[in-house]
Symmetry: C2
Subunit: 337 residues, 2 copies
DNA sequence: ATCGCAAATGAAAACGTTTACATTCGCCCC
DNA sequence: GGGGCGAATGTAAACGTTTTCATTTGCGAT
C-alpha cells in the first residue's frame, strides 16, 4: 500500500541503492539518473519510512522537549523559540508538557527515549536525584531554568538574579529607598533567584535600609493579599517589587481599592512582562525575559552537542533580561495624564 | 552500545520472541518468565527502538500537529489540550508551528509524513486546493477551525457564529439597540463567522436597527482606530462589540481618552476571554472559547478515526462558546464602585 | 505406558532503509 | 589491443523489532 523505495527503484529501473543515493544527495550518481529518480519519487509521492531510516542511521532527526505544566504566554513563546530553531535545522519537535510530579516526568522522559536524538528539559521535578535515578544512558540533554549543577549536561538559564538586581537599582535610581519585595513560592528556583537579586541590590545600593519581604506564590490572589498587608504596616514602603507581573496586578488592585495612588504614593513593578503588564493602569514597569531566545538558544546548544559530542564542553549559559520602564515605577510620571 | 532486545533475551536466557511477548503483555508467557524478563529489562534499562517497532507494526504511536504562526495564550492552550489527550492514550505529539505561507505549511506537512499515524491541522493556508495538491495518501487528519467542507476529513470548529450571536443577544437584553461591530480581518474565517453571527442576531432581535461594522484586523491598534472613528460619528452606538478582546482593549483606551465612560456611556464587549479581559477596567464582558477542549476533542476524534477507520464517519463538530459577563457590558453596573 | 493436546517457547521471516563491498562499464594510456 | 583505473551502479548485509509457524514440554486421559 505505502510506496517504498523499492517501488521507486523498480519504476526508475535502478537499484534501491541508487534511489537512496540520489535522494540523499550523494555525489556518486549521474545527474541524468538523479533526475529520473527524483521524478519518479515525486510522481509516486514517495516518502521514506523514518523508522527504517533511523534504524540504520541511529538518528531520528527529532528532539524532545519536556516541559512542566505551564500556562500562558511563557509556554507558547518557549515552544515557538524551540520550534523555529529546530525547523531551521530540519529537526522535528516532540513535546511533552504538563506533568505534575516527578514520576510523571520520569515516565514522559522514558517514553521519549529512543524516539529522539536529544532532549530539552525544563521541569522543577528534574533535580539531582532525578537525574541520578534515571541515568539516561547517553542521551544528550540541555537543562533549562534549573538550579542544578551537573557535569553531564549543559544548562540554559534566565538571569532572574540580574533582572531583579537591575530592577531594584532602577527603583533606587527613581529615588525610592524603602522597597518591599513580594516574593514567589518558596521552593521555586526563579523565585529564589529573584529574591537573591533583590537582597543583593538592596545591600549594595541601600545598605542602611532594611529589606522587607512579603511571601507570595506567583498568584494574583497572593499579590493582592500581600498588597493589603503592606497597607497595614505602620511604615509603608515607597516602592513594591512583585516577583512576577500577575502578583503585581493583584497588589495593584489592593492599592487601588485603598485609594493609594500608583506611582505617586507607592511605586509598583513586576517581573516577566506578560501582556497584561501593558494593560493595567498605570502600565507596569517590569523585567522582560526573552523566552523565545531561551528556547532557541537551548536548542542550538543541544544541536551543537549532538553534532560535535567530542569537542563540546558542558556549559552553563545565562540569558540577559531587560527592564521595561512604564508608568508604574514613577520614572515617567511626567507622561501621566 | 544501546541495549537491544537481544541483550535482554541473552541475559534472561530466553529468545527474543519471548522478550517481545513478555514486554508487550501477551498472554502466552508464564508469569515466572515474565517476571524474570521484566527484571532484566529494567536492570539493563532496555527501551525498545521505536523505529524498528514502527517498521513492522506500521504504527508510530505519534500524532502530528500542524499549527499556524500563533502567539500567546491560544497556542499554548491548544497544545495543552492536545497533549493531555494524547498522553492519556499513550501517544506522542509532534508539533510544527509557525509557518507563514502555504508552501511552508506544505513542507512541514510532507516532513511529518511517515513519522505520524495521523495529523491535527489548523492552518489558514490549508484550503481546498492545498489538500487537493498534497493529496496526502491516506494519512488520517482532523482539520481544526476551517471553513472547508470536505468528505475526506473530520472537522472540529469553534462556534464563532453562535458566540457572536449570543453576545449580541445579550447586549440587546441589556437594553442596547444601536450596536456596532469592530470586525476582524477580511479573509479570516473566525472573523467572518463572528461577523455573520452579529448580523444574524441583529436581524433577529433588532430588525429595525441598522447594523454598523467598522473594519479592524484583530490588532489592538486597529481597535483603537475603530474606537476613535466611532466617537466621531454623529450618532454614537450604545454598545460596541469587538470581534476579539485585544481590539476591545484598544477601543477601550480610545473611549477612555475621550472621557467616555464604559459602560455608562457606551457598553463594550470582546471575544476570546484572553487573560487581559479580566484586567482592563472595567473588566471586559466577552465570549469564552474553550480552546483546551478544542484540542482535546480534535485529538479524540482523530484517535477514533485511527482505531476504527471503517466505522468512523467523517464529521463536522462545533464547539460551544459561553458568554462571560463582567462589568463592561452594563449588565452588572450595580456592582461597580 | 502411550497418545494427544494445550501451553510455552524458539526459529526465522519480514518490515524499509543505508552502506560497505562487488561488479560493470567506458575510456585513456602505454 | 590490452591493462588499468575511476565512475556509476548493483548486491546484500545490517539495523531491532514483531509475528507466524514450528517445536518442545508437561500432563491428563486412555
Amino acid at each position: 500500500m505505502a510506496v517504498t523505495i523499492k517501488d521507486v527503484a523498480r519504476e526508475a529501473r535502478v537499484s534501491v541503492a541508487s534511489v537512496s543515493r540520489a535522494l540523499n544527495g550523494h555525489d556518486t550518481v549521474t545527474e541524468d539518473t538523479r533526475q529520473r529518480i527524483a521524478g519518479v519519487a515525486t510522481r509516486l509521492r514517495y516518502v521514506p519510512h523514518s523508522g527504517a531510516r533511523s534504524l540504520i542511521t541511529r538518528r531520528t532527526q527529532t528532539i524532545g522537549a519536556l516541559l512542566p505544566d505551564l500556562h500562558g504566554e511563557f509556554f507558547s513563546e518557549l515552544i515557538r523559540g524551540i520550534d523555529v530553531a529546530a525547523r531551521a535545522r530540519g529537526l522535528h519537535l516532540l513535546v511533552s508538557s504538563s506533568h505534575g510530579d516527578a514520576s510523571e516526568a520520569a515516565a514522559a522522559l522514558r517514553a521519549m527515549q529512543g524516539r529522539v536524538d536529544g532532549m530539552l528539559v525544563m521541569s522543577p521535578h528534574v533535580d539531582a536525584s532525578f537525574l541520578r535515578d534515571q541515568l539516561l544512558a547517553d542521551l544528550p540533554m540541555v537543562l533549562m531554568n534549573t538550579p542544578l549543577e551537573t557535569e553531564h549536561y549543559s544548562i540554559m538559564n534566565v538571569d532572574n538574579y540580574g533582572g531583579a538586581f537591575a530592577m531594584v537599582r532602577h527603583l533606587i535610581g527613581c529615588g525610592h529607598r524603602r522597597i518591599a519585595l513580594i516574593a514567589g513560592p518558596e521552593h521555586n528556583y526563579d523565585a529564589a533567584e529573584r529574591l537573591r537579586g533583590y537582597c543583593a541590590a538592596m545591600a549594595r545600593f541601600a545598605p542602611m535600609v532594611s529589606t522587607q519581604v512579603m511571601q507570595g506564590d506567583f498568584t494574583e490572589e497572593s499579590g493582592n493579599r500581600a498588597g493589603r498587608e503592606l497597607l497595614a504596616l505602620k511604615v509603608r514602603p515607597q516602592a513594591v517589587f512583585a516577583a512576577n507581573d500577575i502578583m503585581a496586578a493583584g497588589c495593584l488592585y489592593a492599592l487601588k481599592e485603598a485609594d493609594v495612588r500608583v506611582p505617586e504614593d507607592i511605586a509598583l513593578t513586576g517581573f516577566d512582562d506578560i501582556p497584561i503588564a501593558r494593560f493595567v493602569s498605570p502600565p507596569l514597569t517590569t523585567v522582560r525575559t526573552r523566552i523565545t531566545d531561551l528556547g532557541q538558544r537551548a536548542l542550538e546548544r543541544l544541536v551543537q552537542t549532538l553534532e560535535e559530542p567530542a569537542t563540546t564542553q558542558v556549559s552553563v549559559q545565562t540569558l540577559e533580561c531587560e527592564i521595561v520602564i512604564r508608568a508604574s515605577c514613577g520614572a515617567t510620571t511626567s507622561t501621566e495624564a
